[in-house]
């Protein structure tokens, strides 16, 4: 369960255990924090450059106060946005248990969505990677289509999407076998090999 407290999860059933806990790829947070850092450094850099160039911006005392308080407010806001980005990243979790998939998504400061899907209802799992960064850093989306009219689950920007998709398929298959929804004869070759062993 790594360093995360999973106490915010819906209660697990008897014999149900957590198999996979996923977050977005670390690069997503790193890129956001890099942008906030640049935004914080720009006014400080401008003020240093203008001072070095001999320009006297803070001529009057009122202007000095305005610049000081304005810069302070700006930096506090940047810091707050950076912290909110971390919270948003940290609280977006996708959990695969032996029985279901749980998607917990934090939308901004005041909105949170928790959705569940039973593994035996899963019909199709697709891994998707688009772009240069996802290809180089091996992250992408995993789409999980279930039976019925429910919207499909999406694990967004998770690391190693193909292996995650494979893992979800394997767990779903085991779950279906457990619930007698799938004959062991029809299961994947790997599962048959395991059963024969």
């Amino acid at each position: 369960m790594s360093t995360t407290s999973l106490r915010s999860l819906p209660p697990l059933e008897k014999n149900e255990r957590v198999v996979v806990v996923l977050r977005r790829h670390w690069l997503i947070l790193a890129l956001k924090l890099a942008l906030w850092t640049i935004a914080a450094v720009v006014p400080i850099g401008v003020s240093i450059l203008t001072t070095n160039a001999g320009l006297h911006i803070g001529g009057s005392e009122i202007l000095k106060a305005l610049i000081t308080l304005g810069l302070s407010t700006y930096l506090l806001c940047i810091l707050l946005f950076a912290f909110a980005s971390f919270v948003d990243y940290y609280l977006d979790i996708w959990v695969v248990t032996t029985e279901r998939i749980i998607s917990i998504e934090q939308h901004g400061a005041f909105a949170r969505t928790v959705a569940e899907q039973w593994l035996y209802r899963i019909q199709d799992v697709t891994a998707e990677q688009h772009g240069i960064l996802p290809t180089f850093f091996d992250y992408g989306a995993v789409h999980i289509q279930s039976a019925g009219e429910q919207a499909r689950f999406v694990f967004e920007q998770v690391p190693h999407p193909r292996s995650v998709a494979r893992q979800v398929i394997d767990i779903a298959e085991q779950c279906k076998i457990h619930h007698h929804l799938l004959d062991t004869e029809n299961s994947a070759p790997t599962k048959r090999a395991e059963a024969q062993e």
């Binding site: 360093t3 995360t4 407290s5 106490r7 915010s8 005392e61 009122i62 000095k64 106060a65 305005l66 000081t68 308080l69 302070s72 407010t73 930096l75 506090l76 806001c77 810091l79 707050l80 912290f83 909110a84 971390f86 919270v87 940290y90 609280l91 979790i93 917990i104 934090q106 400061a109 005041f110 949170r112």
Partner: protein, 80 residues
């Protein structure tokens, strides 16, 4: 003319809003994902806020307020 008092009112207003959102984010972080990582990041956040506020206070103290002391009663009357 922008007065120091109005500036301070604005500053503390924005500071209060930032504190509210910061407090809510910390609440959400510990309510739904308390861990050593969350604690470390929150402490870093507090440290950064303390540094920014300390630098602001130091810079504000360096300003020569005596040259603008006449502004304050005028604005107080305006406010009243």
């Amino acid at each position: 003319m922008i007065s120091i008092v109005v500036l301070l009112y604005l500053y503390f207003g924005i500071l209060a809003i930032c504190l509210f959102f910061g407090a809510f984010n910390i609440y959400a972080l510990f309510r739904f994902g308390a861990s050593s990582v969350a604690t470390t990041v929150t402490l870093l956040f507090f440290a950064a806020v303390a540094i920014i506020l300390a630098l602001t206070i130091v810079n504000i103290q360096q300003i020569d307020w005596t040259t603008h002391i006449d502004v304050i009663p005028t604005l107080s009357q305006t406010t009243l």
